[in-house]
Structure formats: structure tokens, C-alpha cells
């Protein structure tokens, strides 16, 4: 009778409706508790047949021995129990649902859960209740590496050591859904599988420490691209609803999706296996709204140029490329006919400040029919820009430390001439310049400390070779992919040196890691 009333001493989110709910719940105190609960528990022990579930989220059977927990305080024990429960859930999901004919290198079990800083976006997603936990059947399908083989889709790693990767259903299998995902923590302690659905070569993007977005190309082929949100923490997912109406970012329950540029590893892996030609990259920011499960364009000026992506971390200030009419560096009869610029917003797209790029940039640019014009990286007030392709003997990188008010020039030898270059911002906010004879990265130059005007060449372990794709994602994580079909000399064939787990990632380009659960 007094169960609800005696809770009043506990300080907990009181509001004006708190007492009403408390009063209503007191009715449950009048319900008699069955007298046979203890005996039912004992019968269950004798039966030794635990309740079977179809939902891994609810499965608790298989809790590991927490022998050291005797030394912990009560709250710590609660947390540890939760972690062990999560571990048991993952272990069961992996072991019980794996295809029996798949001797996959993925076949590892988890032991503990991950620790991810909760964001209001994540809280809102949980609260909205739209995240779907994969069914046992979906987990079975997605974890079958014959049906959904490794390295059949793009991969992303976040700064919080979470990951998401996509796998495509192979010909010969009857797959109701074309794409599956694997997500969790890169240390292999958490691993989730799920099935998404049909899409045209979806690319995976880091949204924040916890969430990833898998989205198909836009907008040429799909004006309303199919997109899913993947939760690396719970393993759940939800399909996002595309909306054409632009929006500003005014709530922590919204998250900005930033593309990784035209030459991201994720994009190149898709391009290398796509049979339908190049995809349009995500060049202008998108906004994922946890409140209604939508994804829509960020509100940008009319002259925003989708063909001029800005590599950035996507936190705080947002940068975009601009050009008159939104058409940047268009090529007409081998002449650059448009002048491009930049714009930034510090208020989630509500207002934008225009930035003029140095005119010399375009004088050194090589007009190419496939040119993306300029490569641009920005972080706060700092901007670095260079021509994506240059035919001069020297390459010029233009640097600004005051949001484009003034520019300085960094000159780099460009001995091979027709040399592509791509700029990125590393996790520690250093600048990375990647240049190559073709689309494959051959050389990496890194700024010293925080000074973007000093680019050091041939630093230890920073030299890449042609049979790898290298790029940096929005979290500043360097992602490398070993191509199985391209050798160092550029010839095409089956490269036996390509490792089974062809992804490596790093924050400093010296220490390279892999996703542990996917290693052989």
C-alpha cells in the first residue's frame, strides 16, 4: 500500500505532473502479489530451460562470471552487470546466429560493452523509440559471410573507436534486402549485425561518436536517397525519411552529416565495385533530426556549390563551397568559367558569411572534364585550399588563419606535374596534403604541430603507395583500404598482398589499427 508513497524522499525530476502520476501508480499497490513466485523460480531452476527470446536486446542468458565484482561498490556492480549483459547478448548473437558454413574471420565473441559519451541526439533517438533492433532472422542473415561477404561495402570509424560497415548481398542468394551492416567497437568487444534493405551503393558516414548514416548517392540517381541511421551502441537502426525542405540546426537533437569529399576511401571502395558508374558525393551538409527521424539538406545560400566540397569536422562552424549560381569551376572548352568561393555559418545555417578565395588559385588549376576544381579543408578560422589538379612544376597551397581575410602561400615541388592533391584535417587538427600521379595516393605531407604553413614531406610512415586508398573522414580518422585489384605499379590484377581485412585506420598515420572483430 505504501510502496509509491515511500518513494517521495528520492529527489527525481519533479514537475507539476509528478504527483499525478505517483497517485495513479499507487493503484498497483492494491494488487496482490502472487504467492507462488518463489516456487515458480525454483521449478524453473530444476527445469534448467531458460526463457527463449527472439530479441537479443532482451536476452540475458549466458551472463559471465563477475568474480572480481566482490571488490566493487554497488553502483559499479550495476554497471558491470550491464556491461556483462551486453557482452553476453553480443556473444549469443554472434555464436548462435552465424551461418554454420561460414568459417569467417568475423567469428569472434564480445566480452564487454562500449563506452560512448551520451549526446542529446542519442537521447532523443532513444526517446523517440524509432530504433529497430534486428530480429534473430536478420542477425542470422547479416552475419553470414557467404551471403554478405566482408569488404563488399564501405566502412567508417569514429573518433570514439566505434565503427560501421556495409555488406552487400551476393548474387546467387535470395536476399530480400540488398545491404546488411556490422557495427560496434573497433576493439571487438561489441559487435552487432543487422539488415537494412535495398539501396543503390550506399555509403556510410560518421554522424557522431555513436551513430552512423548509410545513405545512397544523391541526387542524380535518387532525388530522395534512401538513408538509414545505425546505432553502434545498441546495434539498432532506423530508416531516415528524406525531406527536400532545407533546415537550420537549432537543436542538440539534430546532427550535421558532413561528407568526406570526392576521394574518400568509403566512396572509392564503392566506385571500384560499382557497375553503374560514379556516384554523386555528399558535398553539402545534411541534417539528421532525431525528433522526427528525417534527413534533409542544411539551409545554405543560393550560390552553394555541391561540386566544391569542404573537408571539415562538422562541429561548430560549418563551411561550404560557393559559386555564382552554385556552379563552381565548371569547365567549358577547357576554360574555367566560374569563380568559386566559400561561406561559413556559426549558427547552424541561419546566416552565412562569404569568403573569397585567392584569385591565384584558379590560375594554376588544370581544366579537366572530370575536375572537381579545388580541394579545400577548413577548421574554425583556418582554411587551406589548393587546385585539385595542377600542371605546374610547383603546387601552391593557400592558407588562411583568419577565415579568409588574408592568405599566405605554401609552395611545394610538383615534379610529376599532372598531379592530383587532396587536403584533409587530421584528428589533432593538423593539415594533411595527399598528392598523387593519379587517383591513388602516393605521397602524404603533414603540417607540423598546428602550423598549416609548414608541410613536412616524407615523414616516417606517412608515405602511401598506389595499391591503397587513403582518406580522412570528418572525425579526422585516417582510413586506408588495400585494393585487391591494383598493385603498386598501377597494374590491375589479383593482388595477393592485400590483407583479408583490407581496412586500416589511424589518427597519426604512424600507428595503424584494424577493426579487431574482422581480423582473421
Amino acid at each position: 500500500m505504501l510502496l509509491c508513497a515511500r518513494r517521495s524522499w528520492r529527489p527525481i525530476v519533479p514537475d507539476d505532473f509528478d504527483s499525478v502520476v505517483a497517485d495513479r501508480c499507487r493503484a498497483v499497490d492494491d494488487v496482490s502479489v502472487p504467492a507462488d513466485l518463489w516456487s515458480r523460480a525454483q521449478v524453473k531452476v530444476l527445469d534448467r530451460m531458460p526463457v527463449q527470446f527472439t530479441d537479443g536486446e532482451a536476452t540475458l542468458i549466458g551472463l559471465e562470471t563477475p568474480s572480481q565484482t566482490d571488490e566493487l561498490t554497488t553502483p559499479q556492480r550495476v554497471v558491470l552487470a550491464g556491461l556483462l549483459v551486453a557482452a553476453a547478448v553480443v556473444a549469443i548473437a554472434v555464436v548462435a546466429f552465424r551461418d554454420v558454413d561460414d568459417a569467417s574471420p568475423d567469428a569472434q565473441t564480445a566480452t564487454v560493452g562500449s563506452s560512448i559519451v551520451e549526446s542529446q541526439f542519442g537521447e532523443a533517438m532513444e526517446s523517440a523509440g524509432v530504433l529497430v533492433q534486428p530480429s534473430a532472422e536478420d542477425i542470422t542473415l547479416a552475419s553470414g559471410t557467404s551471403r554478405y561477404p566482408p569488404d563488399s561495402g564501405s566502412t567508417q570509424v569514429s573518433a570514439a573507436d566505434t565503427f560501421a560497415l556495409l555488406r552487400q548481398c551476393q548474387p546467387g542468394y535470395v536476399c530480400d534486402a540488398g545491404w546488411a551492416y556490422v557495427t560496434g567497437t573497433v576493439d571487438g568487444n561489441t559487435l552487432h549485425y543487422g539488415v537494412l534493405g535495398q539501396a543503390h551503393d550506399p555509403e556510410v558516414f560518421v554522424l557522431d561518436d555513436r551513430f552512423f548514416v548509410a545513405m545512397e548517392s544523391e541526387p542524380t540517381l535518387h532525388p530522395a536517397p534512401t538513408a538509414w541511421l545505425i546505432d553502434s551502441s545498441s546495434g539498432g537502426y532506423t530508416e531516415l525519411t528524406w525531406r527536400d525542405e532545407p533546415t537550420t540546426v537549432s537543436s542538440p537533437e539534430q546532427a550535421v552529416l558532413i561528407g568526406d569529399g570526392n576521394y574518400s576511401v568509403s566512396r572509392w571502395v564503392n566506385l571500384s565495385r560499382s557497375s553503374t558508374g560514379p556516384m554523386e558525393p555528399v558535398s553539402l551538409p545534411r541534417v539528421v533530426d532525431a525528433r522526427d527521424g528525417t534527413i534533409r539538406p542544411l539551409a545554405v545560400p543560393d550560390n552553394a556549390a555541391a561540386s566544391l566540397p569542404v573537408i571539415q569536422h562538422g562541429q561548430g562552424r560549418i563551411w561550404i563551397g560557393t559559386a555564382p549560381g552554385g556552379r563552381a569551376l565548371e569547365v567549358e572548352e577547357l576554360e574555367v568559367v566560374q569563380v568559386a568561393g566559400l561561406a561559413y555559418s556559426d549558427d547552424g545555417g541561419a546566416t552565412w558569411a562569404e569568403v573569397t578565395l585567392p584569385a591565384q588559385l584558379f590560375e594554376s588549376a588544370e581544366p579537366r572534364s572530370d575536375s572537381r576544381g579545388a580541394s579545400i579543408a577548413a577548421e574554425g578560422d583556418r582554411i587551406a585550399v589548393t587546385a585539385a589538379w595542377s600542371y605546374n612544376l610547383e603546387r601552391y597551397v593557400y592558407i588562411s588563419h583568419d577565415a579568409g581575410l588574408t592568405w599566405s602561400t605554401v609552395t611545394i615541388a610538383n615534379p610529376s606535374k599532372h598531379n592530383g592533391a587532396f587536403l584533409y584535417v587530421l584528428a589533432d587538427k593538423r593539415l594533411l596534403l595527399m598528392r598523387s600521379d593519379d587517383v591513388y595516393p602516393a605521397e602524404l605531407l603533414v603540417s607540423t604541430d598546428s602550423d598549416w604553413t609548414k608541410l613536412e614531406q616524407d615523414l616516417p610512415a606517412t608515405r602511401a603507395i598506389k595499391n591503397k586508398y587513403v582518406s580522412v573522414n570528418r572525425d579526422g580518422i585516417v582510413v586506408m583500404h588495400f585494393s585487391e585489384s591494383t598493385f603498386d605499379d598501377g597494374t590491375i590484377g589479383n593482388n595477393p598482398d592485400a590483407p583479408p581485412n583490407r581496412y586500416r585506420f589511424s589518427t597519426d598515420m604512424t600507428n595503424w589499427r584494424t577493426i579487431a572483430t574482422l581480423d582473421p
Binding site: 518463489w38 530479441d55 554497488t74
Partner: protein, 158 residues
């Protein structure tokens, strides 16, 4: 590993002190007395099977009870569908009405309401039990309040 007699005594002590509050919390959460009973029995059965492996029995059965109940609900009629409330079992009209109202809430919101008002836990404690943050618990509770407020006010006006 099956628990020893000593372990069983330890678990039974916790059972005596916890099970009424746990069962009633699960009743609010599930809207089904039989399902709540099954979840409580299964949670304690699992503790008994593990013996000394479980250090904090009380925390374990609370967490397990809700997860088991969620699994049973999902197996029965989908994760967010409470299904019909067995009013003949409950025999308390106002409670049946309240369970109907709760049945419209998402699972996590129901769990937070049950753990807060019957379980008597704080937001951080609920967060630990459900594996979410305390802030998320507060969001769930506030949203549950908002939803219940609207429904109850509409019912009162009618």
C-alpha cells in the same frame, strides 16, 4: 553452475525484500500479471542457477526482470505492443485504466515510469538498470508525463 544452499538462502533473502516491488513494477511495465510473474520467477531462477557468480542479486534481478519482461512482450506481440490487459486478474478498475494509458507509451518510457514510481529508483539508478544515461531517463519521464497528461486531461474532460 548451480548455486549452493547458502547461495539460495542469500537469494531468498533478497527475494523476500524485493519481489513485491519488482512484481508490481513489472505489472506496470507489461500490463500483464502473468507475464510479470513469469519475468520475476525467471529472473530469480537465473540468479539461483548462477550462485555466487552474481554479486549484487538485487541489482541483477531488477535489470534482468525488465529485460526478460521486454523479451516476453516482444515474443508475444511485438516490442511496443502491450496486448490486452487482463482485467479479470487485476480486479482494480482504476489500475486497469492506468495500464491502458501506459500501454500507449513506448517501452522505455513505461520502464522508466515503473522503476521510478514503483521501483523507487532515481534517474541515474534507472539509467544503470536500463543501460541508458540518467539524462535519457529524465527525457523518457518528461515525455511520459506529457503523454499521460494529455490523455488524462482528455479523459477528465470527457
Amino acid at each position: 553452475m548451480m548455486g549452493t544452499v547458502g547461495d539460495q538462502d542469500r537469494v531468498e533473502v533478497v527475494f523476500r525484500s524485493v519481489h513485491p516491488r519488482l512484481w508490481r513494477s513489472l505489472l506496470l511495465f507489461t500490463g500483464d500479471a502473468e507475464l510479470a510473474s513469469d519475468a520475476v520467477a525467471e529472473a530469480f531462477a537465473q540468479v539461483l542457477r548462477r550462485g555466487t557468480e552474481v554479486a549484487d542479486v538485487e541489482a541483477w534481478v531488477w535489470r534482468s526482470g525488465f529485460r526478460i519482461a521486454a523479451g516476453l512482450l516482444a515474443a508475444r506481440s511485438g516490442p511496443t505492443d502491450l496486448g490486452p490487459v487482463d482485467r479479470s486478474t487485476l480486479q482494480v478498475g482504476s489500475l486497469a485504466e492506468f495500464l491502458d494509458l501506459l500501454g500507449d507509451l513506448p517501452s522505455q518510457q513505461r520502464a522508466c515510469v515503473a522503476l521510478r514510481y514503483v521501483g523507487g529508483y532515481t534517474s541515474p539508478e534507472i539509467g544503470e538498470l536500463l543501460g541508458i544515461s540518467g539524462g535519457t531517463v529524465r527525457v523518457h519521464l518528461n515525455r511520459a508525463h506529457a503523454a499521460l497528461r494529455q490523455t488524462i486531461m482528455e479523459a477528465d474532460r470527457a
